[in-house]
């Protein structure tokens, strides 16, 4: 096994635990359709940049599925996880420097890229993930405005936790 993946394994376990034990309970306590915090996509965002795309997609699917089972929504988070894993390289290319990153930056974290780039990239990344998630959750674009409202509200809440996480751990690899 590639040793660069070991921190990711810990992140996988930690983020799934936080998502399903803490954030799920918070959502149940607040009980509003607009209160959603999805932190587990950080696992996908912090996957090594050099990881091949098919592997990343499969890992995105895996973390989504791990969240889906406690949530009782098989396939919904998994679909969004796989999609965001596919979208991640595109997001990084959009917000990153011209010509791409050098091989020195191992993961897309504030430690390697600037805080500004990280915030831009993670906002776009989470927006895509949340939009896909709420679309699959609604399963129809009839309520498109509702999907957009939920996405924006969840993005605002989620970004608070993302910034907290990045400031606390600021992972190097």
């Amino acid at each position: 096994m590639n040793s660069s993946l070991i921190p990711s394994i810990w992140r996988f376990l930690g983020l799934v635990a936080v998502q399903t034990l803490l954030l799920k309970q918070m959502g149940a306590a607040v009980d509003s359709i607009y209160f959603n915090v999805l932190l587990y996509p950080l696992f996908v965002l912090f996957l090594p940049m050099e990881l091949s795309a098919p592997i990343a997609v499969l890992l995105g699917f895996a973390v989504g599925m791990a969240v889906d089972l406690p949530y009782g929504t098989p396939g919904v988070h998994a679909s969004a996880g796989a999609f965001s894993a596919f979208a991640k390289p595109i997001v990084i290319a959009v917000v990153g420097p011209k010509g791409g990153f050098t091989s020195k930056e191992l993961i897309f974290s504030p430690h390697h890229v600037s805080w500004q780039t990280f915030l831009q990239g993670s906002s776009l990344f989470f927006f895509l993930h949340l939009f896909w998630y709420f679309s699959v959750d609604a399963f129809t674009f009839v309520y498109f405005s509702s999907i957009i409202f939920k996405t924006v509200a969840a993005l605002f809440l989620t970004m608070i936790f993302v910034v907290l996480y990045a400031a606390m751990f600021n992972p190097k690899r």
Binding site: A53, V57, G75
Partner: protein, 293 residues
């Protein structure tokens, strides 16, 4: 399996994503009640549209069958119409006039006494000629369809011919444009009758012979000519055509008149016809034998 994995790794994330999302889709509609309901509804709506489209295609390709069944329906309607005419004649004696349906529906005794006289078999003309001295038609009905020799062939516009040679599935009919044609026809306004023959030449014109001399001044161009009903083959009042010009004395037999008749059925344009089957032709023929002896 290994090759499939290699393909996935080589062609990058997109192929993987498509497979994973398809897999997710299956799981979602399988295990999530809300999404499964929405999917079932959507599938119903689109499935219904697809089924409708499919039905349209199927309908198009079954048009031939439907035309056939419509023709059969037309047969029964024509038979009914001819029989109504027939019945009006027979009931006139008793000073009552019933519609066919009333009789059929209510009066079993009368139904037994007033039986239908004709049946119609629709047919398609598959060969036709008009330019010879004796012309023939071939139709796509034969003995299997209860077509026999010496049955009238008519079209919606008028008389067409008489069957002569019968095969299993096809028959040859003598066109009215034939030297041997001799059909009893009447002038409807004058209420008199004669024999309709074809003297060759113009395929749109026939000659009505043997008309009584005293009608000479009463016959005018445009007067309708119909079948007289004095024949086993042709039912009464089937259109033949209209009078052309004035009646003139017959050069061969000066006691009678002849008149030219323009046919109402253009003989060069015949496609759908019906063969008229007289249900009592055998009985009438055997009666005729008696007066010959």
């Amino acid at each position: 399996m290994i090759r499939l994995l290699q393909l996935l790794l080589k062609n990058g994330g997109f192929v993987t994503l498509v497979f994973v999302e398809l897999f997710c889709f299956v799981i979602i509609v399988q295990y999530n009640t809300k999404q499964a309901d929405i999917w079932a509804n959507t599938a119903d709506i689109y499935g219904g549209r697809v089924l409708e489209k499919r039905q349209n295609v199927v309908d198009y390709f079954s048009l031939a069958d439907r035309v056939d069944s419509l023709n059969r329906a037309l047969d029964s309607v024509q038979a009914r119409l001819a029989n109504v005419r027939q019945m009006q004649v027979s009931i006139r004696d008793t000073a009552f006039l019933f519609s066919y349906d009333t009789i059929i529906g209510t009066d079993s005794v009368r139904r037994k006494t007033i039986r239908p006289e004709y049946e119609f078999v629709t047919a398609r003309v598959i060969s036709n000629s008009i330019s010879s001295a004796n012309n023939w038609l071939i139709i796509n009905r034969g003995s299997d369809d209860l077509v026999g020799p010496h049955m009238a062939v008519v079209s919606p516009n008028g008389i067409v011919g008489i069957t002569r040679h019968i095969g299993k599935h096809f028959s040859i009919a003598m066109s009215v444009l034939h030297r041997q044609t001799r059909i009893s026809a009447s002038l409807k306004k004058q209420n008199t009758f004669g024999s309709l023959v074809w003297e060759g030449g113009d395929p749109e014109v026939m000659t009505l012979k043997d008309i009584s001399k005293h009608f000479e001044d009463k016959i005018k161009p445009g007067d309708p000519v119909v079948t007289s009903g004095y024949s086993v083959m042709f039912p009464k009042d089937i259109s033949v055509g209209t009078v052309m010009g004035k009646a003139t004395p017959d050069p061969e037999n000066p006691h009678f008149l002849v008149v030219k008749v323009k046919l109402s059925q253009e003989m060069s344009d015949i496609h759908e016809v019906a063969v008229v089957r007289n249900l009592y032709s055998e009985e009438i023929d055997s009666l005729k034998q008696m007066i010959k002896q």
